[in-house]
């Protein structure tokens, strides 16, 4: 018989299991990184304290440039993404244009980083779509120019790619934080005091929004500094981002290179900590400057306001077009017959690419989706358990819980995943699908939680009181009232989890020892070959795999509840 105290029903155990699943692999990975960096866990056995690994890292040519590049990329891309989403929300929230841009950007959240990066590469390359559209009438180019646009040594194409991909994320996080800041009322007050829309919004609404935006921003910053998947496609190669150099060491058949990889992974963590510290300083500085401007009575009205709004709308449309254009480009290339430069479109459409790669793509897609479904389903069960335990205890998770959730998102993947692989190798554990599943869960769980927690907590608890008054046990209330009423949100959380899993590169690669091909790892492997048609087909399949669960999550409740208007509206 169920009881109402979680400790007696077993519900209390679910949050503990979830925390263990989040922190266990992270802790193990950190141990597996720290030990080899200081002479432990040597491939041939033996050990003892040593700084040899650090000397090897220090002797790597271009190390300083790599480190600087990583920091610069992370800071500028995060600032750029916030800048665009802030100007858009401040200048346009509540307007029809805003809703249109929001609807264009939201689905892009599910697009894996790798496809977005590959799409952008296709747009911006010297032989890419933008060059084709402008040639030869504007540029005079009859052949692709010999320019280093992609993978430029300054990392600017990488920064552009990260901005395009992270803007939708920060925008949606900003919107989620918005209601508590009462934006409409506050903006009204600011406008009445003569402020421009953007300035008024930044002064009156943004500080409250940012307080809730902090953890997502830190996650974006950490990812910008330390990511591997986007950097492999758009980042410079000599020298590369530090994270890419670590992966090169980790992928080397020479096991002795695991030690410098581990040391560099700790250096990478240091870079993220420096980045976060610099960001915090900048937050404080912005606060001070903002207060100064406020005292000076700056209003930012009229022309300045129009300018700020124009920039915000233009840049966010550009970000959306960059990602969408890339996706269309993938699809087109995968069906392209002959496609000469500078033609804007292929001469003909053929099925040849799909005939050649189709079978393999289907096989890999099936494995990828099965893995994604397993990870997302496990995460969903755990998250529902956590939220239900919270409900039955009558106590909402505190700040500590939120930090645990964000831990795997802020701690760089490239810092603790190599350690996980080193541990797996050392203990002789198999590197099959189970370690991959566990590694995926670490990243799927937080997103499933963040997706479901809002709607789950917002469910009217009076239904539960009513259910109990109708003699229903808490379990019956959960199964027959709460979950059916939250079907749409539950399916969306499942889709979010699947999209996160489908897009994982490093956890798949490192936890499987490179032996479990998924759409993401294959797309990146094929990307280095440079066959545009094959890249297009694999990237299109990857995007489809990430988006399909969302389509089901939107359609299924509409079919199930086609005669139950109250569920869909509420």
């Amino acid at each position: 018989m169920p009881n109402n105290t979680p400790s007696k029903t077993g519900w209390g155990i679910v949050p503990l299991v979830t925390i263990a699943l989040l922190l266990g692999p992270v802790t193990a990975g950190m141990i597996g990184t720290i030990l080899p960096a200081f002479g432990g866990l040597r491939p041939g056995g033996g050990g003892g304290f040593s700084l040899q690994a650090w000397r090897e890292v220090a002797a790597t040519p271009g190390l300083g440039t790599s480190a600087w590049l990583s920091l610069k990329t992370g800071l500028i891309s995060t600032f750029g993404a916030i800048f665009i989403s802030l100007l858009l929300v401040a200048g346009w929230h509540g307007t029809r244009a805003f809703r249109a841009v929001e609807q264009a950007l939201s689905p892009l959240l599910a697009v894996p980083h790798v496809t977005a990066a590959l799409g952008l590469a296709f747009l911006m390359a010297p032989s890419g779509w933008l060059a084709r559209l402008g040639s030869p009438w504007a540029t005079g180019w009859q052949r692709p120019p010999d320019l280093l646009i992609l993978q430029d040594p300054g990392g600017w194409s990488l920064i552009a790619g990260l901005i395009a991909k992270e803007t939708p994320f920060l925008l949606l996080m900003m919107l989620a934080a918005l209601p508590q800041a009462r934006p409409a009322e506050r903006l009204q007050v600011a406008l009445a005091a003569g402020y421009g829309r953007v300035t008024g919004w930044i002064f009156a609404v943004f500080p409250n929004v940012y307080a809730q935006l902090r953890l997502p921003v830190y996650a974006v910053l950490a990812y910008g500094i330390s990511n591997v998947d986007v950097a492999l496609v758009l980042g410079p190669s000599t020298p590369s981002m530090l994270s890419v150099q670590i992966l090169r060491w980790m992928s080397d058949p020479d096991l002795a290179l695991r030690a410098p990889a581990a040391a560099a992974a700790l250096l990478q963590l240091g870079l993220v900590i420096i980045g976060l510290a610099l960001w915090r300083l900048a937050e404080a500085a912005c606060g001070t400057i903002g207060r100064r401007l406020l005292w000076r009575g700056i209003r930012g009205a009229n022309r300045r306001d129009d300018l700020a709004r124009g920039i915000g709308l233009t840049l966010s449309i550009a970000a959306a077009l960059a990602v969408i254009g890339g996706l269309v480009g993938h699809l087109l290339w995968s069906f392209a017959g002959r496609w000469r430069f500078p033609d804007a479109l292929p001469e003909s459409l053929r099925l040849r690419t799909w005939a050649r790669h189709g079978q393999e793509i289907i096989d890999v897609s099936a494995g990828t989706l099965a893995l994604a479904f397993a990870a997302a389903l496990i995460a969903l069960v755990l998250v529902i358990g956590c939220l239900e335990a919270e409900h039955r205890r009558g106590r909402v998770m505190g700040r500590g819980g939120l930090l645990v959730l964000y831990m795997p998102l802020i701690l760089p993947q490239i810092t603790f995943l190599p350690g996980l692989q080193i541990l797996l190798l050392q203990t002789g554990a198999s590197m099959g699908w189970l370690p991959v599943l566990i590694a995926h869960l670490v990243f799927v769980l937080p997103y499933v939680f963040l997706s479901l927690a809002g709607p789950y907590r917002a469910w009217d608890a009076r239904y539960a009181t009513l259910g109990a008054a109708l003699n229903a046990s808490p379990d019956r209330v959960l199964w027959q009232l709460r979950l059916p009423m939250l079907l749409g949100s539950v399916l969306t959380a499942l889709a979010v989890g699947m999209a996160v899993s489908v897009g994982q590169f490093l956890p798949t690669l490192l936890a499987s020892g490179g032996r479990l091909p998924t759409l993401t790892t294959e797309a990146l492997a094929i990307a280095s070959g440079g066959d545009r048609r094959a890249i297009g087909a694999w990237a299109a399949a990857l995007t489809l795999a990430a988006l399909m669960p969302f389509v089901i999550a939107v359609l299924l409740p509409r079919v199930t509840y086609r005669n139950r208007r109250g569920v869909l509206d509420g």
């Binding site: 009881n3 109402n4 205890r393 009558g394 106590r395 009217d460 608890a461 009076r462 239904y463 539960a464 009181t465 009513l466 259910g467 109990a468 008054a469 109708l470 003699n471 229903a472 046990s473 808490p474 027959q480 009232l481 059916p484 009423m485 079907l487 509840y561 005669n563 139950r564 208007r565 109250g566 569920v567 509206d569 509420g570």
Partner: protein, 210 residues
């Protein structure tokens, strides 16, 4: 007969050092209505949560709550036989009208379908069995909510501002219907409201909070 009805003895509810209910005692006999009045924020809904057993842990409750001689406090909410009606009616939006009624019916009830058909006819909604609750009018929803609660055979009925969302003409009809049925079934009724007309229509004892 001193044991019958709903008895509250020196009920105190506090949260974070603030006293919401400070020593409330009352005895509601079967078929009687006790009206608890007071502006919002005086702990009316909290008092109801104490009786249904859904008080949040942040609140501390002392005192005794007995229903027909049975101590309610150690019992889980689903075993207290206390019914409740809210102002929003809260029909389950994913279930049809008849499924809403069936939700509270005891699983061992014989001829469930007949019982539900009779219940629907009883509230003049015989044709509405398969309807989406979202398509019902306010008055129809109120009737379904009442019947759903009564089919669960409660031994007491709590009303949380149950008539405040209905328009004036409908309000009189619903008051009449709820109080008559409760009296016929011999249910003690505890109603919280801020509308004096509700208390007048109920015609029982009145307690002011706050």
């Amino acid at each position: 007969m001193a044991d019958t009805g709903l008895q509250l003895r020196d009920v105190r509810i506090a949260t974070g050092g603030r006293r919401l209910i400070d020593g409330l005692s009352a005895h509601v006999l079967p078929g009687d209505v006790l009206s608890v009045m007071g502006p919002s924020g005086t702990g009316k809904s909290t008092l109801l949560a104490a009786i249904t057993g859904t008080l949040q842990p942040a609140f501390t409750l002392t005192g005794e709550i007995f229903l027909n001689g049975r101590d309610l406090r150690p019992l889980r909410p689903q075993h207290r036989d206390v019914g409740i009606l809210f102002q929003d009616h809260l029909l389950f939006p994913h279930l049809s009208v008849s499924e809403n009624l069936a939700f509270g019916l005891h699983p061992k009830t014989k001829d469930r379908k007949t019982r539900i058909a009779e219940a629907l006819a009883d509230i003049d909604l015989a044709e509405f069995a398969d309807r989406d609750p979202a398509t019902l009018s306010g008055g129809q929803r109120a009737r379904v909510a009442l019947m759903r609660m009564l089919l669960a055979a409660p031994k007491a009925l709590l009303l949380d501002e149950p008539f405040s969302r209905l328009d004036a003409a409908l309000r009189d009809k619903m008051r009449e219907m709820v109080f008559t049925r409760a009296r016929d079934l011999g249910l003690p009724v505890l109603m919280v409201t801020h509308d004096l007309a509700d208390a007048d229509a109920a015609g029982g004892q009145v307690i002011e909070l706050g």
